[in-house]
Symmetry: C2
Subunit: 117 residues, 2 copies
DNA sequence: CAGTATCCGAGTAGATACTG
DNA sequence: CAGTATCTACTCGGATACTG
């Protein structure tokens, strides 16, 4: 963002875009759920429940649904008994990689700034 | 983030860093408030209230306090009658530029993906 | 001008229990 | 295994009114 050139009413689209991204990543769990699925390539409900420390099944269920609606993950039902469900990142989901890198980097600098000075 | 190399328990620090950044940018207003201050360099309370469509004075007051605590903006009291207050971005606040660019770019692609296909 | 105080509804999230 | 249902507490954010 070029601050010097910014004008609120002329940048509605940009601000909307930022908000769209934030909506997708927002909250306590989204990134962690994505990370779990990302690492293992395919991952099941109860596995993610174990990976993501502190999340409840209700929240995980909701987060997975949100991520699926946003086409970041896919849900595959395998015909076993009892059924097995695989969650995977979509190609679109994988494009979040760069953003997550940036957020990580800035977060580290920010922590140093706030705490370590 | 290299998905293939990710292991939940080995990446605690990275996930914390992402969460730290998200905490700072989280919510409906933070980015818009930052944008308003950013464009005008110095900006007063009631001006931001006008720039950011829909925000209430309660929320603006809270967001400004949060941003100040996180050292993204400074609050300067000028000795006029009645007092004038200037909000400005700190150097640290300005480093958010790149992130906001990324979030904007991804948000636009995401919108195309979800709506425009 | 630059906020604070108060009230209130809606949504977020945890705990526990239950289902096909 | 992969969730849903229910109850409850807490937080977010809007509306309105008020203050130095």
């Amino acid at each position: 963002m070029e601050c010097e050139e910014f004008k609120p009413n002329e940048y509605k689209e940009e601000m909307m875009a930022v908000q769209d991204t934030m909506d997708v990543l927002q909250g306590k769990w989204k990134i962690k759920v994505l990370s779990s699925i990302c690492f293992y390539d395919k991952r099941r409900f109860s596995d993610i429940l174990n990976d993501v420390y502190g999340i409840s099944n209700k929240m995980l269920s909701k987060e997975l649904r949100d991520l699926e609606i946003n086409q970041l993950i896919t849900r595959t039902v395998l015909d076993t008994h009892p059924v097995t469900i695989h969650y995977q990142l979509t190609e679109h989901g994988k494009t979040l990689g760069t953003i997550i890198d940036n957020l990580t980097e800035w977060g580290k600098r920010h922590r140093k700034k706030i705490i370590g000075e």
